[in-house]
């Protein structure tokens, strides 16, 4: 049966030749390119998809480092009994916490990928806005988790955390973003050095009990407010003013 059927089918194939027309091929090529381009033009990333793509691109090792830093500091806090040491360690941790963000935000400058990103569909400012937002969310989650875990174990008030941790942290972040906006500063080392210098200044303030206690709480709050406004301004500049 097979041989008969095969013969019949072969005969049919010979009787029914299929010729490829060059113009049909060319038309298919032209239409295919057009279909691909049209579809690509329609395709727009939503803001969430864009944020997700940035999340995938960001290196998570720095978040892990921040987490380890908080864990290490949390572990050390339980052995520190004197407020003097706690105060100093808080200031240093705050500065280190922000310094760990620097490599990722400087990545574009370090690897000279500005041209690629400026040629991308999303503008550089949108890319930076997404990255800053992601870092902000991640840091907020880390710090919140840290505070919740240590709640009850440590006798800190919110105001103490505000003055001793959040204030130096916000000032450090402010220094980072201000330096990031400077066109003549190419190296992330400069930002790290500036943060370390601020850390030393803060250390000197924290160790001087006279100075520290002389400053009234409302003054600290005002200073924190000023630092926070400066940080918002620096972030705004990073995102809205054309960089470099």
């Amino acid at each position: 049966m097979d041989a008969d059927l095969k013969k019949r089918l072969d005969t049919y194939k010979q009787q029914f030749p299929i010729a490829v027309k060059e113009e049909a091929v060319l038309e298919t090529i032209r239409m295919s390119k057009k279909a691909y381009c049209e579809k690509e033009c329609e395709k727009m990333l939503t803001y969430w998809e864009f944020l997700w793509s940035q999340l995938c691109i960001l290196r998570k090792r720095w978040w892990l480092c921040q987490l380890l830093l908080l864990v290490a500091w949390g572990g050390m806090l339980s052995y520190m009994e004197e407020a003097y040491y706690v105060r100093r360690s808080m200031g240093i941790t705050a500065v280190l916490f922000i310094i760990l963000v620097i490599p990722e935000l400087w990545k574009n400058r370090t690897y000279c990928c500005m041209e690629i990103e400026t040629a991308a569909f999303y503008s550089l400012r949108q890319i930076y806005a997404a990255r800053i937002l992601l870092f902000g969310i991640a840091d907020l989650v880390l710090l919140s988790a840290f505070c919740i875990v240590l709640y009850g174990q440590l006798s800190f008030t919110f105001l103490e955390i505000l003055v001793q941790f959040l204030f130096p942290m916000v000032v450090t972040a402010c220094i980072c973003f201000k330096i990031l906006c400077k066109p003549y500063v190419q190296s992330e080392g400069t930002a790290v050095m500036a943060c370390m210098a601020w850390s030393v200044v803060w250390w000197m303030i924290a160790v001087q009990d006279q100075l520290y206690t002389a400053v009234m709480l409302p003054v600290w709050i005002v200073l924190f407010g000023v630092a926070f406004v400066s940080l918002v301004s620096a972030v705004h500049q990073t995102v809205h003013v054309p960089l470099w």
């Binding site: 049966m1 097979d2 008969d4 059927l5 095969k6 013969k7 019949r8 089918l9 005969t11 049919y12 194939k13 009787q15 029914f16 299929i18 010729a19 490829v20 027309k21 049909a24 091929v25 038309e27 298919t28 090529i29 239409m31 295919s32 390119k33 279909a35 691909y36 049209e38 579809k39 690509e40 395709k43």
Partner: protein, 180 residues
């Protein structure tokens, strides 16, 4: 590295030559497949073009896993199924084809044999016809057919046996089987 993978990468990057090479590589094969399904050269050309248009419209979402040809066959197969559905609605068309095939003792025997075979293929159920066309006309191996259709090898063999049996029965009913 696989040629298709490189071509797809280049096409995704917008390299125009890659489109050219890719379409030329598969055009004839898909055209043959569509032609043996719908028996109409002009319509087969349209189906082939539509196959490539659908492929390229979804190119950016397509993830290469070494089966680009299978994907093209799947698109073409779906288009051909739509064609058959449309054809079935037009009952007169099929009846007309079979009526033409009935007159076997005509001087234009070649043409009529061709029509008879087309009627026989059209009379097969969809899955049997698919296996038969891929095996005899597209000259794919049974294992490749299993890959294209996404079914197991034993099922391909079963469908092939059934397709041959149905074809034999068709020709026997017409009394043309003994002629060969």
């Amino acid at each position: 590295m696989d040629v298709d993978f490189l071509l797809l990468m280049k096409m995704k990057q917008g390299e125009e030559d890659a489109f050219d090479k890719f379409i030329r590589k598969y055009y004839e094969e898909i055209l043959k497949y569509c032609t043996y399904h719908c028996f109409d050269s002009e319509y087969a050309r349209d189906l082939t073009q539509e196959t490539f248009l659908r492929f390229f419209a979804n190119l950016s979402a397509y993830q290469y896993c070494g089966k680009t040809k299978n994907y093209l066959y799947t698109i073409a197969g779906n288009l051909c199924k739509n064609y058959y559905k449309k054809k079935k609605e037009d009952v007169m068309d099929k009846e007309g084809l079979q009526a033409k095939a009935g007159a076997a003792a005509d001087p234009f025997a070649g043409v009529l044999d061709q029509m008879e075979m087309q009627a026989a293929l059209a009379g097969l159920s969809e899955e049997f016809r698919e296996v038969l066309i891929l095996y005899y006309f597209q000259e794919l191996k049974l294992k490749e057919i299993a890959g294209v259709l996404g079914i197991g090898l034993p099922l391909v063999k079963y469908r092939m046996r059934q397709a041959k049996q149905q074809l034999k029965e068709f020709f026997e009913r017409r009394g043309t089987w003994t002629q060969i």
